[in-house]
C-alpha cells in the first residue's frame, strides 16, 4: 500500500470512527453560540424538579476539606456516583452529579440546616451542552477518565484529519491554485479576527 493510499484510508476510517463525536460537537455548538434561541419559553415546565427537601445538619468548619464534606453529604443523602463539590458562599455547599441524561444537583443550606436535591428534566439543548463541555481528568472515576481520553483522541483525530487532508490536497495538482487561495483567505480572515478584536 502506498503512503498516498494509506493516507486516504486513514482520513476515511478516522472520520467514520469519530463521526458521531464530530456531529455532536458541531450541533452542540449552536446552543453555546446562540443561547437566546434555545431559552425555554416562559410557560415551559421548570428545568429542575425537586426530588427531596429535608432537614439536615452537618458541621462545616472553616478550611474543611470540601471533597470529604461532599462525600459525607452524598452518603447521608443516599446518593451515589461521581460528583463535584464547591462552596459558592458561606451559607451553602453545592454538589453536582454530572450525567448526560439525568444529572442531579444537591444544595446544602448550612444556615437553614436543609438539604435540597433536584433532578434535571431532559432537554436537548442542555443535553448537547453537557456532552460538549464534558471532559477533564479531575473526577475520581475510571469512566470519566475514559471519556477524557476519548476527548483527547477526538482532538488528535481532528489534527490527523487536517494533516491528511492537506496531504491529499497537495497530491492533487489540479486544485492547488484554488486551494492556496482558500488557505490564504482563511488565515487572513482568522488573523483579522485575532488582531481587530
Amino acid at each position: 500500500m502506498t503512503f498516498n493510499r494509506f493516507n486516504r484510508r486513514l482520513h476515511l476510517y478516522l472520520g467514520a470512527l469519530l463521526l458521531l463525536w464530530f456531529f455532536v460537537y458541531a450541533i452542540s455548538s449552536a446552543p453555546f453560540a446562540h443561547p437566546r434561541w434555545f431559552e425555554p419559553s416562559s410557560d415551559s415546565e421548570p428545568l429542575w424538579v425537586t426530588r427531596f427537601d429535608r432537614p439536615y445538619e452537618l458541621a462545616v468548619p472553616g478550611g474543611a476539606d470540601l471533597k470529604a464534606i461532599g462525600a459525607q453529604i452524598v452518603r447521608d443523602a443516599g446518593l451515589n456516583g461521581s460528583f463535584g463539590v464547591y462552596q459558592p458562599n458561606q451559607k451553602q455547599i453545592n454538589l453536582y452529579f454530572p450525567n448526560f441524561l439525568k444529572p442531579v444537583r444537591v444544595t446544602y443550606f448550612i444556615d437553614q440546616k436543609r438539604l435540597h436535591t433536584e433532578d434535571r428534566r431532559f432537554r436537548w439543548p442542555q443535553f448537547l451542552q453537557s456532552v460538549h463541555a464534558r471532559g477533564g481528568y479531575e473526577r475520581d472515576s475510571l469512566l470519566d477518565d475514559a471519556w477524557a481520553v476519548l476527548v483527547d483522541l477526538n482532538c488528535i483525530g481532528l489534527l490527523v484529519w487536517i494533516a491528511s487532508g492537506l496531504y491529499m490536497w497537495w497530491k492533487t495538482p489540479g486544485v492547488r491554485g484554488w486551494g492556496w487561495l482558500a488557505l490564504a483567505a482563511g488565515w487572513g480572515l482568522f488573523a483579522l479576527f485575532l488582531f481587530a478584536g
Partner: protein
C-alpha cells in the same frame, strides 16, 4: 476541500484548545497583569447611568471601544472593566474618589489565547467584529455537518471501503452509546 482549507485555522484552534481545556489543571493558570498606563481621569456620568453605560463612556474616552464586561461598581464607586480581546485583554480600573485610572494588560500565554478563542461568542455585544466572528463560528458548524454528510456519501460510493467503514461507524456509535448510558 476548499471549505476545509478555508476553515483550517478554526479547526486547528478548536482541536488544540479542546485538548488544553481537557487538561485544565496543567495548562490553566490565573491571569497575570502588567500596568500599561496610569493617569488621572474624571468622568461625568449621567445620574442614572448604569455600569454598562459608564464602562462604555470610559472606553470611548480612552479610545479603547470594543467588546467588554463590567460588574457592579465596588467601594467608592470603583469601576472595573474587562476589555475583551483575544490577544491582549485589558483590565481598566477607574476610581472616581481620587480620579485615578489604571490600564493593565494581561500577560500573554498561548493556552489562555486558545481558550479565549474557543469561548469567544458573537451577537452579544454591539460590535461588528464580534458578530462577524459569531457568523464565522456558525459557518464552521454548517461546514462540519456538510463534511460529515459529504464524507458519508464518498464512503458509500467507494465500494471497497464499505465494510471497514461500516465497522468504524458501528464502533464509534457503540462507544458513544456506552458512555451516554453510563456516565
Amino acid at each position: 476541500m476548499y471549505l476545509a482549507l478555508f476553515f483550517m485555522p478554526w479547526m486547528l484552534m478548536y482541536a488544540l484548545s479542546t485538548m488544553l481545556m481537557n487538561h485544565g489543571p496543567v495548562f490553566r493558570k490565573p491571569p497575570q497583569f502588567a500596568v500599561e498606563r496610569e493617569q488621572t481621569y474624571t468622568a461625568a456620568f449621567p445620574p442614572d447611568a448604569g455600569p454598562r453605560q459608564m464602562a462604555q463612556q470610559v472606553l470611548s474616552d480612552l479610545g479603547m471601544d470594543g467588546a467588554h464586561g463590567v460588574g457592579k461598581p465596588g467601594p467608592g464607586g470603583r469601576l472595573t472593566i474587562n476589555r475583551l480581546d483575544p490577544v491582549a485583554p485589558r483590565r481598566i480600573t477607574y476610581t472616581p474618589a481620587d480620579g485615578k485610572l489604571i490600564v493593565e494588560r494581561q500577560l500573554f500565554r498561548a493556552p489562555a489565547l486558545l481558550e479565549r478563542l474557543h469561548r469567544r461568542r458573537g451577537f452579544q455585544q454591539p460590535y461588528l467584529i464580534d458578530d462577524a466572528w459569531g457568523l464565522s463560528v456558525d459557518l464552521v458548524i454548517a461546514a462540519m455537518v456538510l463534511w460529515l454528510a459529504s464524507g458519508l456519501w464518498m464512503w458509500w460510493e467507494l465500494r471497497i471501503t464499505r465494510r471497514l467503514g461500516a465497522l468504524s461507524i458501528a464502533t464509534g456509535l457503540a462507544l458513544f452509546g456506552f458512555f451516554l448510558l453510563t456516565i
